[in-house]
Symmetry: D2
Subunit: 321 residues, 4 copies
């Protein structure tokens, strides 16, 4: 109390992320909590002043304590709430545990299979991300260390919802194969039950950044599924608007009010970010984004890919699936 320093003082320690080569985003640091390295990547848990604890993989922010709920609620709940009665869910990637945590809030869910390739990252998150401890201990969660594509191709069981929580598709990157038309067609679709829903994170979706991968993921899914819904939300710690795409061969007929009703009936606790109106707004894209999506012709196939700066090794949860 006699101490005059504190918050007014100039900050000395900083986390610096190169969002693009000519654009940086810097957070003052309280401390560097834990650092580690797996066979595939470097991992760190930082305590940042503006965004709380931050999980950083290979110099890219994955998830920040104070706003990861926006990403994870947006990834999980639209798909599960649009499904009539989701009992089984498969997560491609998701090693951080937050996606599983959100899924497990749904009372209908009986089994969640989370398949991440990087055991060290999973162990790191299990140990240090207190907020996901309960989820990691839930008996409905089945954790598998494997390449998600190999796993899905080997398994015999089908799922009500499949969720892609993977690094962005970059040519030569570790996750590219999990965004291709052939993967969606011959693997994902065949592992979905009747009425099943697929949803994937789909990279940045800002007024400029949506052309990097978002429009192309959307267009690829449009080749494979009858009904495809792209949506987005601004995530402060990412310094950008983020995108997701939900797809199914069963039409999405749930309106904002019904979404709220289902959430109330099925889910434990209340969402902080997502509700019916939020999703209605999130899925009504701005003119410039809608235009790009309508005109997009590229499809991810084994032979093509698009580049997204610096997200090559590990942006989003499962970098090497």
């Amino acid at each position: 109390s006699a101490h005059l320093g504190g918050d007014g003082r100039r900050k000395s320690c900083w986390y610096e992320e190169e969002i693009e080569q000519d654009l940086r985003w810097c957070f003052a640091l309280n401390s560097i909590l834990h650092t580690g390295a797996s066979q595939y990547q470097d991992i760190a848990l930082l305590d940042t002043k503006p965004f709380g604890k931050a999980l950083v993989i290979d110099g890219k922010l994955q998830s920040a304590e104070i706003d990861e709920f926006i990403y994870h609620e947006s990834l999980v709940h639209p798909a599960l709430l649009h499904h009539l009665n989701p009992k089984t869910v498969f997560i491609m990637g998701g090693g951080e545990g937050s996606t599983a945590r959100e899924i497990l809030r749904h009372g209908t869910v009986e089994k969640v299979v989370m398949c991440d390739i990087d055991e060290e990252v999973v162990d790191f998150c299990k140990s240090y991300l207190v907020v996901n401890r309960e989820a990691f201990c839930d008996s409905r969660l089945h954790l598998i260390i494997n390449d998600a594509r190999a796993e899905l191709q080997t398994r015999q069981d089908c799922f009500d919802v499949i969720i892609g929580d993977l690094a962005d598709p970059i040519e030569g990157g570790p996750c590219y194969q999990l965004y291709t038309k052939s993967f969606y067609e011959s693997t994902v679709k065949t592992r979905l039950n009747e009425g099943g829903v697929f949803v994937t994170q789909a990279g940045p979706a800002g007024v400029f950044s949506h052309t990097e991968v978002f429009s192309c993921i959307y267009n690829t899914l449009r080749q494979v599924f009858k009904y495809v819904v792209p949506y987005s939300a601004h995530i402060p710690s990412y310094a950008d608007t983020w995108g997701w795409v939900m797809a199914s061969d069963t039409p999405f007929t749930v309106d904002a009010e019904e979404l709220d009703t289902r959430a109330k009936r099925r889910m434990k606790g209340e969402n902080r970010y997502l509700d019916g109106k939020t999703f209605a707004s999130a899925s009504m894209l701005s003119k410039v984004v809608r235009k790009t999506l309508a005109k997009e012709t590229q499809v991810y196939t084994e032979g093509t890919a698009k580049f997204i700066y610096g997200h090559g090794a590990g942006h989003r949860s499962q970098p090497h699936a």
Copy 2:
């Protein structure tokens, strides 16, 4: 061509903005085009790599070439398109010229009064912002150097639309007086014609930042006008979602389709960002923001104010009105 350097090379010169004390946003620089200082503030025009030419006042980014259209289309067109037949418009602040430029695209508009207190800033923008040159020369534009409050209180004429393009309300800041209940009641409302619309920029409106001034501007306007519409959009160069509030005593009844029809009929050129659906989405706020707005009790009066970090001297167009 033999030159191997270029874009892959590490950048040496940077513009650095302290968004908050513990958060920085940095753009690689091509050059520092012009710098100047007025009686009130420092002003600079930078050529940045990620966002093009950027107008910076007192170390705060005002407007960047590649995405200022998001801010200015959002500020101007909803109000003008919701109005039945806007002929006269008053801009409080707006010295940059972009707000006037957007207004002048409306064929119905016969007279625009732009009232900014800082002549040097206006002259600087007139000289260097090529994109607004035509607007500054338009015979319908009446440029006045004065305090906007004093000007509105002195004038006898009324306007169809009044637009607030001012720095955020900060206690002791130069623009605080232009966001109070009493100013709205006894000055703005009395200068609006029957069926008139008022709109103001309303500060950051992100998942966290909307509590700084956005909710309070909204709540203050709700005390004064019968119909109040808050809306927001993510602006990449601001590293945040931004907010505006539109208000009137006449109900806003124009739907997305009609908005598009009016834009097509009345406006010169096509918008890049804003159309009916974009506005529908922008005005459907996310759950967390809606909750704050619903519960906000604070009202800006002569005696109260809220602080917003670092925006004290000059964030947004008219810092000293």
Copy 3:
């Protein structure tokens, strides 16, 4: 070994020091080892990539693992080696412990009194600076928590060498009083034995920075002592050349060779930086510095002071003496 990241990778966490308002010096961080706060100041021990463990007080680097030997050998050994037979030493400040460590290497020394005002800083360094643990445990060391001026004025005993390891003299700063002519005259000199030597750190002494306090400390001591020797050395982690001033009423007659002989005879272990030739070079200042010193007229008295940027609270070991 399969891990490809490592040292070639872009660094994410940085310590940033504002050397002056327009000059920054930034070290990549491995970790933030410990942070604390005393009644007077903030303290941190960082693990930096370029300079190893670094002690930072109030955002100013005090001492870095890999080059603190330059500062501490330069501060301690010239004075002790020029003295005929130093048995008793008084340290003003020095809470870090490194100055005591260097003194205790001299076999002639029987008693070291270290007087620092900030107990928390001393405790922090005792706990975390492994390199000084032995020194802190040496039975010849007498640690006193007190204002060094008050302590010297109260004590009855005299010393062979008195060492100033204090923050720079800044008007209104905590250490200014310990650099004045009257303090040197009526306190320091009276506490020195016959043949005694006084030495003090004397701030930056670079081609430009020597005008900040170095020349004035030199000139002040010249008013009080018959023989005054200023000298300097470049310290990489400080990004500057640093200065010290040694003073006595007995002439300094030891040449480079004799200095080496004495060091060999009296001291435990070999110096890394300082020897006879190094000191000969260090005490032969460059033309521009010699000129300023020759022309300096200012003297630190109770009424005057000179400012040095940002070093107000705690640059060098004893910030509040």
Copy 4:
């Protein structure tokens, strides 16, 4: 005067140099005066707050207005003053013009050949470095655009002094060939007159950095010349101590006093940095540096090289010779 901003205000635009991968040195910017690119490299003239106008090549500071005199006086005058009567001088590199400027201050000098490979850099400096304009116009200066090695091997005439003002020797770098034993032996020595002196910049020479190239340049010259004198000086804008090595087959017998006498007799104007005592101090290296030099065994030959971080493309004046 009513304007309160100014110097106390937070700086927004910065030049940032990566001295090493984990060490940065940042100067606040007033403006980016000129930028250009040659066939070999990028070039910029910046106006920095702490160091004035700064010439930057490929992201590496070459020379700063306020302290380039330290580098250039140290490079030129010891060699010329130790020579009995220097009439002809050859500069390898030196495109900036400052080395020529210093040489031309010597009244004995009748002819200076400056041979730099990069015409665009020379033209850039001619146009923008006002301080060297007079030198570029001096009729005694012969400017040649060529590889310095090729030029020396072709020419028939000999010189009293040859000066190496080149980028550091890095394996695979543009200047490596100009630091090898065979080059010194078969080219440099054969182009020196009887009593001739060779001097070269020799990279960083700090307590740690002297092992990068300084000790090896010294050791290489020691294989070729009978008398070799290494010396160093701290250059604030480089954030390091810099080194030079002077070599001859005639002994260096000039003492500090005689050096001052010769300077006074022969040179126009007074030096700011270098005089007899400064050189005496500069050539008395510190213990740690002397030890490395004494033990250095490596010699630059066509087959070996040592790496110095980031100085590959263009640190110091002639990057591609």
